[in-house]
């Protein structure tokens, strides 16, 4: 399951799993963004290629109008996926700080 909603200061909080069964829900929410935005991944446990597609589609749309996504508090597993897919070059990504 995936929860996605606005938190303080317009930051978008994601919680749970961004897999193929949840990508439509995430895309619908992110399609509502119309400016540069911060996505907080501190409670996002997992992402698959379906989730990467959602992020890429949103980034393309926002960058075309001068915005873009910043992804913060990204866990090590998701960071690996970003590196392997080259997403660390097309998004501003900030890893989670180890406790």
């Amino acid at each position: 399951m995936l929860d996605i909603d606005f938190a303080d200061a317009g930051v978008v909080m994601l919680k749970g799993r961004l897999d193929a069964s949840q990508s439509e829900k995430a895309q619908t929410f992110l399609d509502g963004l119309d400016q540069a935005s911060v996505l907080d991944f501190s409670n996002l446990e997992y992402i698959s290629s379906a989730g990467l597609g959602v992020l890429l589609r949103t980034q393309k749309r926002l960058m075309a109008s001068g915005g873009g996504l910043k992804l913060i508090n990204v866990n090590n597993h998701i960071m690996d996926v970003f590196r392997f897919s080259g997403f660390d070059h097309i998004f501003e990504v900030q890893g989670a700080v180890d406790p």
């Binding site: 399951m1 799993r17 897999d19 193929a20 069964s21 997992y46 698959s48 290629s49 379906a50 990467l52 597609g53 890429l56 589609r57 980034q59 393309k60 960058m63 597993h77 690996d80 996926v81 392997f84 897919s85 080259g86 070059h89 097309i90």
Partner: protein, 135 residues
């Protein structure tokens, strides 16, 4: 441990419940679980996307063997599709040139240790086996 799953993205929650039961039963270190779930989701959703009308369920089997996690995904009454054939995916171009899609199969070998594909022609059965070292 094995179970069959309906060919639908909606089966993913049941699949992840199944893998969690396996991890608990076999005391699999949590650091290996993301990669195994990732490979299973990408392979399963590939089967869903390219044989949507096929009524057969997909069989997933998992076992721990000689320090490795071994997973098999078996698809019934399908044409061959070798997921181990390397497919070019652009991971270096600027944003505007990136394509949406195709990343899943490209990423799997980076997450796990081996992957094999077998097709039984008379039975029209595809069987994918991958391993993840549990070191």
């Amino acid at each position: 441990m094995n179970e069959k799953f309906h060919r639908s993205f909606d089966s993913l929650q049941q699949i992840f419940d199944f893998t969690e039961r396996f991890y608990s039963a076999e005391s699999i270190d949590p650091r290996h679980r993301f990669a195994v779930n990732f490979a299973i989701e990408e392979l399963f959703t590939n089967m869903v996307k390219y044989n949507a009308g096929n009524p057969h369920r997909v069989l997933i089997e998992m076992e721990q063997l000689d320090g490795e996690l071994v997973a098999h995904l078996t698809d019934f009454d399908v044409d061959p599709f070798d997921v181990t054939v390397e497919r070019e995916v652009d991971t270096e171009s600027p944003l505007q040139d990136r394509q949406i899609g195709g990343l899943g199969l490209h990423l799997i070998p980076k997450m796990i240790d081996s992957i094999d594909y077998d097709y039984d022609e008379p039975a029209r059965r595809s069987r994918i086996t991958f391993t993840k070292a549990l070191r």
